[in-house]
């Protein structure tokens, strides 16, 4: 839901400003990175004492709260700082992240890279049938990519689960992967455009007011689209 909602709001906020230029794409990515990075870096700085404790006592900071163990080293820290963990290694995205919760931020930034590429081709007026058709197509793609990930997964990969969990490792396998989030992101783009088409942003003050509550990061909604 997070990915759908994020992309839908992003589409509504940025659709009227999107340009087919590399400069705009780079500017957009820098803007999103600047939005996410400072608080992530602060959160990561809280982990520095954990490095020393792990070095001394051999136990990492994960404790009981998560099901996998992190690789607490400098490469992992750098990967976490720039949201790169989880892009290359299909099945260890969460394990390589220093702050485990960064898996979703990493996936989000990965989707942001796709956004400038997709926003203009998908920016069109749709009728309801086409809207439903496109959403179902992207949903099928999501299921297909999820199945492919499972198909290509290392055999009997358990994410540190005991065999007694009887295959429950399927969940993190799909949940933490960044690549199968792109179709969800696409569904969000299409829904965002459909909302823009049917939503009378400029007609009703109430719409604008309520959307500005939700889209507090999208000031575009508070003024008329140019």
């Amino acid at each position: 839901m997070f990915f759908l909602m994020s992309c839908m709001l992003l589409t509504i906020g940025y659709a009227c400003r999107a340009e087919a230029s590399l400069l705009w794409a780079w500017d957009f990515i820098l803007m999103r990175f600047s939005l996410l990075a400072p608080s992530c870096w602060f959160a990561l700085s809280l982990f520095i004492p954990f490095i020393f404790m792990q070095r001394q006592y051999g136990k990492n900071s994960v404790g009981d709260y998560y099901m996998t163990e992190t690789n607490e080293n400098i490469t992992s820290m750098l990967g976490s700082m720039f949201f790169l963990n989880g892009w290359t290694d299909l099945y260890q995205g969460v394990g390589n992240n220093y702050n485990l919760v960064l898996w979703s931020t990493t996936a989000q930034l990965y989707c942001y890279l796709w956004f400038p590429l997709l926003v203009l081709p998908l920016h069109t007026v749709r009728n309801t049938a086409r809207f439903i058709g496109e959403v179902l197509s992207f949903y099928s793609l999501y299921l297909f990519v999820s199945l492919l990930l499972f198909w290509w997964a290392p055999l009997h990969y358990t994410f540190g689960y005991s065999i007694t969990y009887q295959g429950q490792y399927n969940y993190p396998l799909l949940h933490f992967n960044v690549h199968n989030k792109v179709p969800l992101f696409l569904i969000g783009v299409v829904a965002g455009f459909q909302a823009l088409t049917n939503m009378s942003v400029v007609k009703s003050e109430l719409y604008t007011l309520r959307w500005s509550y939700v889209c507090n990061s999208s000031p575009c909604l508070s003024r008329k689209p140019s």
Partner: protein
């Protein structure tokens, strides 16, 4: 190949049959994660079309809006703060002993949540908001030194190709 088929059949079994056998837990979460995206999409889309509906007004309740404002910081900080909490509660034993010996009680979610919320508010107001523009300007300045935009933008070409492909599909279908 046989092993791959076995693995895929395990996936299907765990997704469809596993729910009925094991009940809730990760299997159920997997089912919901695969099944619910279109439902969520419809829900969100309905909000854009009917902002006066009860569900939307409920979502615009002030505590929820506040929670939404600080949600990113709460999300980012909950894990280190919980670890610090456990460290403070168990002392050095937290790092020395096994995880089972230093397990928090369920009720401790309340103080943890309060601490996380307070720290998240602080981080949002004093780090996230002020440093957003500073980071953006600094990164733009750095990138302008290394990247020149005089060359033919690749994205124009890609976008043109995608648009043509979409038009072709529209015309064909």
């Amino acid at each position: 190949m046989v092993l791959r088929v076995q693995q895929l059949s395990l996936f299907v079994k765990e997704t469809i049959v596993g729910y009925t056998i094991h009940g809730a837990g990760y299997t159920l979460r997997l089912d919901l994660e695969l099944a619910l995206p279109p439902v969520f999409m419809l829900w969100l889309y309905s909000f854009t079309q009917a902002p006066t509906c009860l569900a939307y007004r409920w979502c615009c309740w002030k505590p929820f809006l506040l929670m939404g404002k600080y949600s990113f910081c709460i999300y980012l900080l909950h894990f280190p703060i919980i670890t610090y909490y456990a460290w403070a509660r168990f002392g050095i034993e937290y790092w020395k002993t096994s995880s089972d010996a230093t397990r928090l009680y369920a009720w401790e979610i309340i103080p943890c949540f309060l601490i996380v919320s307070a720290v998240a508010m602080f981080v949002h107001h004093f780090i996230e908001e002020p440093s957003r523009d500073i980071t953006y300007k600094a990164l733009s300045k750095i990138s302008s030194i290394f990247i020149k935009w005089d060359s033919e933008p690749l994205l124009v070409l890609i976008n043109r190709t995608c648009t043509k492909a979409v038009s072709f599909i529209n015309a064909t279908v």
